[in-house]
Amino acid sequence: MTELDVARHNPLLDPRLQAWGWEIPVYLFLGGMAAGVMILATLLLARPGARSPALRWLPFAAPGLVTLGMLALFLDVEHKLYVWRFYLAFRWSSPMSWGAWILLLVYPVSLLVALASLDGAQAGWLASRLGRAGRLVEAAWAMAQRHAAGLRVASLATGAGLGLYTGVLLSTLAARALWSSALLGPIFLVSGLSTGAALLMLFPVNSEERHLLARWDLWAIGTEAILLLLFLVGLASGTATGQAAAGLLLGGPYATAFWLLVVGAGLALPALLELLEGRRLLRVTPAAPALVLVGGLALRFILVSAGQT
């Protein structure tokens, strides 16, 4: 029997350390989704054939999501007057620093990719709405058209970097047993792809695009399920602290939420729906993508919170 008395009454630290609240999981969720959008939209647009008008506009979602994510991060940061300090340093050992800089990189790349995906008429319309800045948009559009191929590569690379980073941020924090797994990067990347696909599916893309997205999503969900399994097996077969951490998800306080929201609602159910929809056994509805989004958000909330327990 062990009794532990800590004579310290800091609500932030005791009885357990929960430094990161809702803001960080939201930030990771939106960042991952933006990465998914960047990668998937780029792939869809690179494919020959007809494109829906919606798809041409959708790449703009990436910088939008990133902006929302940065807002969440800003809300989490406690010393708000000093936020500019992120951009006076680059610390290779700090994923937080990598993230800050990647986010900045995401803006030009995703905006240029988005511009490049517009046709002449759409670009003209956009330029006409922006007054004086319209000239800049036209010039950027023209440049983006010239470098479309290079931009696609940059978009895929930046998107992958962003998606991986959201997981790496946690996995480098070795003090938290649940996070000390190299698999978190890939898990968050594929989860980002899945949520990105889900977001795109919620918009009026054409049926071929919808079909492709659903197929990719199925692939992402399958990969995510395998990676999650490996992640848990890795923890549970490791050190005592790792086993305790895995226990949080497998049978502890987070088990119900994890199995219900992440595995059930976020992976199994949408996979089933998308399979059935793909075989025309079920009418296509927004249910599957909505569930994927719920699962993706839940995954990040659970991992961030359980990791700090």
């Binding site: 009454h9 951009y87 800089w101 030009p108």
Partner: protein, 745 residues
Amino acid sequence: MTMSRRQFIKIGAAGAGSAGLASGLGTRWWGLDGDPTPDPRTDGDRVVASYCELCFWGCGVLAHVKEGRVTKITGNPAHPLSRGMLCPRGAGGTGLLYDPDRLKKPLLRRSKRGEDLFEEVSWDAALGKVAEGLEKVKQRHGPEALALFTHGSGGVWFKQFMKAWGSPNIGAPSYAQCRGPREAAFQLTFGTPLGSPEPLDIANARCVTLIGSHLGENMHNTQVQELAEALGKGAQLVVVDPRFSVAAGKARYWLPIKPGTDIALLLAWSHVLLAEGLHDAAYLAAHASGLDELKAHVATATPEWAATITGLDPGLIRDSARLIGASRPASLIHPGRHTVWYGDDTQRERAMAILVALLGNWGRRGGYLKHDRFPLAGYPHAGAPPPPSRARVDRPKGGLYPLANEVLASGLCDASRPGQSLYDLKAWLVYGCNLVQAMPDRPRLLEAIQQLELLVAVDVLPAEICGWADVVLPEATYLERDDDAWNGAWRRPFIAVRQAAVPPMYDSKPGWWIVKELAGKVGLADHFPWTDAREFVKTRLAVKGQSWEALSSTGVLLGPEIPTCEEEGAPLTFETESGKIELYSKELADLDFDPLPVYRPQEEGPPGSFRLLSGRSPLHSFGRTVNNRLLAEPYPENEVWLNADAAAHLAGFEARPLAQGERVVLVNQDGVRSTPVKVKLTQRIRNDCVYMVHGWGQTARGQRYAFGRGASDALLTSRVKIDPIMGGTGMNVNFVRFERAVETA
């Protein structure tokens, strides 16, 4: 690093590019890269040497004052009691000075006594009211009808007032509610009471035995310093305590004794020492009387006999006795301090004193030393006031408590209820002691208070007793006032000075000022010829040619070293009647008390109840510091300790056992209910008693932090068992059962 930055620029994000550039050399140019050592700058512009008043120990402190505020308090290295180190309370003195709930102006009661409704008035009006009330009492009942309850060094001014006024009734709860039995027992045995600070040489002891003392949680700075020093030198510790105290955690032997059976253990220890020849025969032959009677008395008090009574393993009793014996003469039986437990406390302390004698520990290094006061002259003035015409009235009719060697505060309370004593007390002056928490049997105390014609409370905080007063006088804290110099007896005699570090806040006044003003209003100004406390001290020092300046700058004057033990050439002398250590007490025999301590069983509580024990937190001095926000941070409220296994099988809680930290209400044998308090389920206590830190559960609304926080052991102490020898109020005779707080709310 540079590569990635170049890539950003290449890609063309102007914002990122310039920021990236800035993060390079730029920051160095702008001075943004430096990492200066953070300095909170709390060192004072001035450092004022004084001594502490967070408890009674009186450690030397240095108050750092910066821009008119006391920023921090550190230990005075020159002071023999603190030696540069402070306990948390001493370090937390600013929490008292800047307590937002302090008394700010004099208060006059504006409703029924105890309703705690007051009006702020001027000092002139308040002291006028006090003077008027005192004069009335004097006319009707004589000057002796005024009693002073006092605790703390500032009380000296009020004692002076009592002398001038003509009343001998000056008491402190620190005797009959605290260390009294010990004083009586050591006086009976060695001819000298111990006083405070106790003259113990803990640092040089090879074995320290604590009996119910939880030194370490009981944070008497010098003693704890020395205990650690002794442990550091490899001393062994024997701890007798129903609770696994901090000291028990460091002990070679912990004896988790059944409460109330200590005398049996102590007799058994004496038995082992004598039976195995571990006692100091030469020392006893030269200095003690009554050894043969003692031998006969403990002949049958074997460890096996004591084991059945104390619940201890006989082997543990024997082994601990052997360790204690083998370590003599530097084998220190600590006398304890709060010793009013079961009403037979003088006899238990006698049994301890007898062990001290058997070990040859009195007057020896690592034992009880000789100490002395630094001589300090009185303030010269003509004509001392005439002595009071009637003797003090703290004993009831019938000549009880013959060996009380100080005034019984509980006796003064009783004398305030009509017809209990030779004459009645009609007015109280209460200085710096919250009688509501200090006294047991609260209804009896409040009944006494309601009989008074005048109750004046002097305090720095609106303590509970202030709520019952007619006039409340706000005193300045020890950091804001000069006081008398202090020359407590110590093995290196010294004088320490109290100096104001900052001027008094609000409309608070130093005690000396209050007394001088009051004396003027009752025609006693002649007895207070000094101008202020500083002049008073300076003049006293000057009589012997001592320098105020030296004292003022270092805070302390050290006297010459004196021989403190036999090893240093101090002869062993005893001020008993026989001039020897009295193992067998003829004095007690003559008074019809047991001349040698006898174990008699204590009453047990009702089934399903637990004996209530109380103690101290190192962060708090009784209830006085409960409102101190700084000290509250690591210790915000008291908890009731309950054996975890007992909790699992607690009657009435079978369906849903008590959970860790759950709030409970304690109900004692007389149906008295506590405020809700957290339960601490632990292996660290026996299953027949519960424990809580004293001083919580306060009812004064003005102390906004302390109000209603935790539970009061004093409230649950509705019964006492009075020590017939010296009148101590044995308090560990109350029993409580548990209720869930939510169910009773």
